[in-house]
Symmetry: C2
Subunit: 241 residues, 2 copies
Amino acid sequence: MSSSNTISHEIAESLRDEILRQQYRSGERFPSERDLAARFDASRGAVREALSQLEQLGLIRTQPGGARVQSVDSASLAVLGPLLQLDDLPNPVLVDQFLETFGVLAALTAKNAVNAANADQLIQLKKLVVLLADESVDLESMQPRWREFMKILSEIADNLVVRLISNDLKAQFVDQMMRLGIRPDVKRSSIKRFISLLRVSINKNDGELASAAMLTHFEELRTAMSEAIGLKASEIRKMAV
Amino acid sequence: MSSSNTISHEIAESLRDEILRQQYRSGERFPSERDLAARFDASRGAVREALSQLEQLGLIRTQPGGARVQSVDSASLAVLGPLLQLDDLPNPVLVDQFLETFGVLAALTAKNAVNAANADQLIQLKKLVVLLADESVDLESMQPRWREFMKILSEIADNLVVRLISNDLKAQFVDQMMRLGIRPDVKRSSIKRFISLLRVSINKNDGELASAAMLTHFEELRTAMSEAIGLKASEIRKMAV
DNA sequence: CCGACCAATTTGGTCGGACCAAATAGTACT
DNA sequence: AGTACTATTTGGTCCGACCAAATTGGTCGG
């Protein structure tokens, strides 16, 4: 499950998940480095490297005398990915909040990109939208094109803050949903309308329109995703019986 | 300048700033741990803890054989704070992007909070807005109240994703601007209008109105901040002569 | 002259033991 | 019971050592 094969990373992941699972109360003393070293059968150095990562994530605060656990919602954004894949099924509330937040950022990006694009970039965007329209039969199969489109949008909009946020958010999310077999079922007509709105907004250089289209798309995605997760949850319950 | 008194943190800060200042090209080899230890006159262990923090920030990628520098805009959001206080004067473009992004998130928060607030919370919000109105003479002096208001909004909206983003963004920003003596001069009439719009939106339970008010406020803040930074820049140039 | 292959070196990853200073816990004293 | 003091725990740092992977540099063959 864990990726980076180094011991210190494994320890960090393990402890991170324990904290995210609320197995420690906020403010509680964290086990000592020597205890952790014994528990993981590793050297203190490896444990210290792991703890230094947790500290960077804002999950613990270390001091001579003992480390203390910090409340999860005072942590860094980088914990969101791990937070989403804690359990078999991602927390639906969190997923919804993710989509809502990512939606407004995507809308902002679309607005700025369409408004700021030069002639060449507009042509490029038009091409991409045409490609998207061709594949609009299935939300999943158009993923690669869709990502490319968003990437170009983001490059044109050129907002480092949004890009940094996206780095911590986007990466794992879609992949994980697919891996879990959660497929939001957005109506084909909705997708077609969305893409056609994108096309119009690009043709008319209308950033506000692009933004609005993006927003409604994410709204539809939210409800579809919510249903998809609910469906998956009942599947799992059935399996358990 | 640097906060945490431990050597490993000082090394991490130092190297972080060097990377953020683009003193290494993306993909370039990073100095070896042994070299860094010699340069900082520290042990390899301390250097390794520092590097493990940089890796968590997404600034470097380590591998047996050598660590490599990663491009800044593939880093974690947590680098934004340091990025803003790299130089005497924060990068105006970055500040503007920050305000634009934070603005849409604040608008989202306001919308959801006003829509979701129960009777008690609405009363609480009304009180806070009244307090804000009383102090609306000066943007700076109303900061404590303003922060409290945003905090309550954020608690009512209860969106963990936005909160995590804010953790990495908000904290240092306002403080740093004040410390540098950068005071955006938003017209008093604009502030008054903003607050009155907030009041109305709360009274009418109209989240969309609150969102729109927040958006225009941040728009005004952006232009004011841009002017303020420009002013400060010319001041500094004058001092240098 | 160039490319492929192989050995020497560099580099990160880990370990163990050791010392210091700060913070905590425990104890004795008032 | 409250306080002052001491012993212990804990994090922070250093050193030296070993392994395995990656890089480097040279050699050989075309």
